[in-house]
Symmetry: C2
Subunit: 148 residues, 2 copies
DNA sequence: ACTCCAGTTGCAATCGAGTCGCATCTGAGC
DNA sequence: GCTCAGATGCGACTCGATTGCAACTGGAGT
């Protein structure tokens, strides 16, 4: 019997097992950090947090694991408008994807779920006959406080 | 009498003049390349093309001019799903902004204009009380040919 | 429990996009 | 023409990300 479609979010390790991907000490640490993170992490933060769980984790392993997670569609990669340097941010892909807004005034990051966004993706798939694998809508501007 | 809103696209130099930004040999070359480019350019390509018009153009001037153009909202910066390295791509901002789709199979870049996208931005501005300055919707997936 | 090896890791070197300090140069207002 | 704020070229630099390689290890097979 298949699991319900709204699969429990946060079981990256389970995904690895299902797909026969080898589990290592280091990957366990990195996945745990990604699973429990409540905000967008860049590679450097991810490394530091993972090293608290397993001091042996190396920077290159973080990057290799991020690439693996991306390849399997388990995480999303974000720019967040390059509000802080040239690097990228990562977050676990949940059931529903969302829009990211970055305030150019105060640096705050906001998220927003929208049915219109889903409709737009549907339109792209239909009108352009394009099979969507990953989508990223990032908006820069000014939040309510910073606007007035 | 104001110009019609659908201003003639492609007059970056005119924008500079209007806003009292100094015009130089090098900027003239770079702006000309941006104006006449028909595809998304990365900084390296932009440099090479600009150097054909003015051999003295330096890499750092290209980056400084890109930053200037961004700051004035005259160009958009794109990742195009990092289909080719970590760099960014640039294009002149036209009247109507558009979605970018990158085919993970053949590397083709497609563009798409959608009223639903405009509606979505309107929703964000209204529901989140967020004043949008710049927006980027980038989609990765498979085009019609690569899907079958 | 032991073996085995493909896959993974740490490390250090390296790449490549983008930035910066500084001496020099230049555009455009007078 | 002068003048100088602002722009440029150059080289050094930062920093995110990648890679080659020898050593290590997970987990399948026995
Ligand atoms: Mn980017
Ligand atoms: Mn475009
Ligand atoms: Zn703000
Ligand atoms: Zn394709």
């Amino acid at each position: 019997m298949p699991l319900p479609q709204t699969e429990m979010p946060g079981r990256l390790q389970a995904h690895f097992a299902e797909r026969g991907i080898r589990m290592t000490q280091q990957r366990r640490a990195i996945l745990r950090v990604m699973e429990t993170a409540n905000k967008h992490l860049d590679a450097a933060h991810l490394l530091r947090k993972a090293q608290k769980l397993d001091a042996s984790v190396d920077r290159s392993t973080v990057y290799r694991t991020l690439k693996l997670l991306k390849r399997h569609g388990l995480i999303d990669e974000l720019d967040l408008m390059h509000i802080n340097g040239e690097g990228h941010y990562y977050e676990r892909k949940l059931n529903r994807d969302h829009i990211h807004m970055a305030c150019l005034g105060c640096g705050k990051i906001m998220e927003f779920v929208s049915d219109i966004f889903e409709k737009l993706k549907g339109q792209v798939e239909k009108d352009c006959r394009f099979r969507i694998v990953v989508s990223r809508l990032e908006i820069g501007g000014y939040c309510a406080e910073c606007s007035k």
